[in-house]
Structure formats: structure tokens, C-alpha cells
Symmetry: C2
Subunit: 189 residues, 2 copies
């Protein structure tokens, strides 16, 4: 009967996440830890003033090279008040946009692995930045964000404290909350 099939399918997919596939991934990593190693990449071409064309294409993971048939390309720019032409968000806006997607997906995947259903998520983020840092006008002011505030609005029966804890397993949350070593190499063309 189709009813049975539907029920099985509903159980397998929680929040749109294929839970058996997620559990298989975990088992595969337990058996071969090298499958957990990923290298993500991006490239960028400066187009003048604050305008850039950024590209996200291939990455490495689970001992394979993953190449998209067509790379994703975006304009990164600065708004007029920061002397740019506003053809795209600026880098600090892309950074907090990444944070929202990561908190959401992390909460959704971890909830799915526990059988917790989530019906809807919408979120907002705001970050404080003081140009005294970037412009070098005050050595006590950092150039990056001073504080970032996120609000996640979730439709689910689960406890909000649990949902928050799941979201905070987010890789971008960790990347921004805690120090990451960045090696910058500049070479002449």
C-alpha cells in the first residue's frame, strides 16, 4: 500500500534531510577517519575600487575532488558610503550571511539526526563595526566585528535551549567565535 511507503519515506527524511544517509556518513567516517577531511576553496578577481568577482567551484572532501559543472560567481562590492558602486554586498555582509546559513543548517541537520522535526526557520543578524579600526584612527579599536547578534525564529516542538545548543555546533559560528590561523601569502605577478 502507498500509505506504508509514505510513512517509511517520512521517517527517513526529517527536515528534508536524508537521515539514513546522514547515519551512513557517520558510520563511514568512524570506519575511515580520512573521509572527514574537507578542503573548501574560493577565488577572487579584483575589478577596480571595491568591486570583485568571486568564484566558488570545486572542493575536496571524503577523499574525492568535487567539481561543480558550473561555478557560482558573485559580485562583492562596497556601498557608496564606503566609496563603492554597490554591485553586491560587501565582504562583512557576506560573512554574517554565511553565519546565518550555517547556524540554520547545523540546527536542522542535528535536529534531523535526533528525529526532531523543524517546520520553519527564519533568522536575522546584525554586527557592529567601528571604522576607527579599519582606518587606523584608533589602535584600541579592532578592524573586524565587535559583536554579532543573531535571532533565529523556529517553528518546532523542541525546546529552545536545545535548538540553540544544536545551532551553536555550526562551523561558521566556531570560525568567527574562536581564533583561526590564517596564512596570507602575497606574491607579485
Amino acid at each position: 500500500m502507498t500509505t506504508t511507503t509514505t510513512t517509511v519515506s517520512d521517517k527517513q527524511t526529517v527536515n528534508g534531510v536524508d537521515v539514513p544517509a546522514l547515519l551512513q556518513t557517520i558510520d563511514a567516517i568512524r570506519a575511515d577517519p580520512t573521509l572527514a577531511q574537507f578542503k573548501f576553496r574560493a577565488s577572487d578577481m579584483w575589478l577596480g575600487c571595491g568591486l570583485n568577482r568571486a568564484t566558488v567551484g570545486s572542493f575536496e572532501g571524503a577523499n574525492q575532488q568535487h567539481t561543480r559543472p558550473v561555478s557560482f560567481q558573485y559580485h562583492v562590492d562596497e556601498p557608496p558610503v564606503l566609496l563603492g558602486s554597490d554591485k553586491g554586498p560587501n565582504p562583512v555582509e557576506f560573512a554574517i550571511m554565511a553565519l546565518l546559513g550555517c547556524l540554520t543548517n547545523t540546527m536542522v541537520y542535528h535536529a534531523a539526526s535526533r528525529g526532531i522535526e523543524i517546520d520553519h526557520v527564519e533568522s536575522q543578524v546584525e554586527g557592529d563595526l567601528d571604522l576607527h579600526g579599519f582606518l587606523g584612527l584608533d589602535p584600541k579599536v579592532r578592524s573586524g566585528y565587535q559583536e554579532i547578534r543573531v535571532k533565529l525564529r523556529v517553528k518546532s516542538d523542541a525546546d529552545v535551549e536545545l535548538l540553540k545548543k544544536l545551532a551553536q555546533k555550526s562551523p561558521v559560528y566556531d570560525t568567527i567565535s574562536n581564533p583561526v590561523r590564517i596564512v596570507v601569502d602575497v606574491e607579485k605577478m
Copy 2:
């Protein structure tokens, strides 16, 4: 003569950056430090599994609200190996893409303010991520990036060490290199 006009224009704009406007911005902030305060924002709507529609629209800065006539919207997704439908880069890819644009723009703007000409910049970034962290399989492994490596290729007469120093004033570089307080609030709909 048009030659004179061209020469003046060349001096005013370095690397495409309107240098008099940049110096005026610095003077204005010295006179009124509140002009340096910015609040950047993004929002996100979850569409199921790893797919999100992210929006970047308005921000606050220089004591004004800045609202784009049309907001920028992007798909944030996960690739098939991470159980998504690959309709956009994933959040950790967007994060390192933001880093490249920020290092580039910061180098370009600071070079312009010093009269240093830059003819071309292209860049690549790679970041290491170990899924043992995200999946909670090893408490010693962080969920975020373990190391990020950037290569900036620059066409300029300037010294590479100076260019690197200028790039490292980047707000996203600081945001990722050093800890940022992130306040996460989860509420039910």
C-alpha cells in the same frame, strides 16, 4: 587642455578609489567619531534540508540608514556529499569568499590612500575542515576551520611585505583570526 584634466583625474582616483573622498571621510570621522559606527545586517529563510534563501539589504552607517532599492538574494546550500542539492555554495565557502574580497579591498583602499598604484589582484583561498568536529565524533576537533591559507597575486611596484601588511588590516581577516562575541537568541514562532 584635456591632458591637464586627465592628469588631475588620475591623481584623484588611485586604484579606482576616490582618494579625496576617502580623505574627507577620515576628516569627517575625526570631527564626529559617531560617523564611524556601522551596523551590517543579513536575513535568511530556510527552504528545507540544507537550502536557504539569504538576503542582504539595508545597513546603518555614518548616522544614516542605507537601504538598497533591491536587496541582494542568494541561495546557500550544501553539496550532495553533505546531503544537499548544491543550489549555492555552502556557508563555510561563503565565509572564505568574504575573506578574499575583504583582504583585496582593504589592500586596495589603503594602498590608494598612500598613492600606491595596484594594477591587478587575483586571489585564492583554501580552508581545512574536519567533519569529526561538526558531527561531534571527536570533542578535540573544532567544528570550524582549522587553518585557512590565502594567496594574493598582485601587479604593483609596491613591496610585497607592505601589501601584505595593508591587506591584514581587513575586517573579515580580523573577524576570523580573532574571537568575536556572537549572541544567539532562539525563539519559537
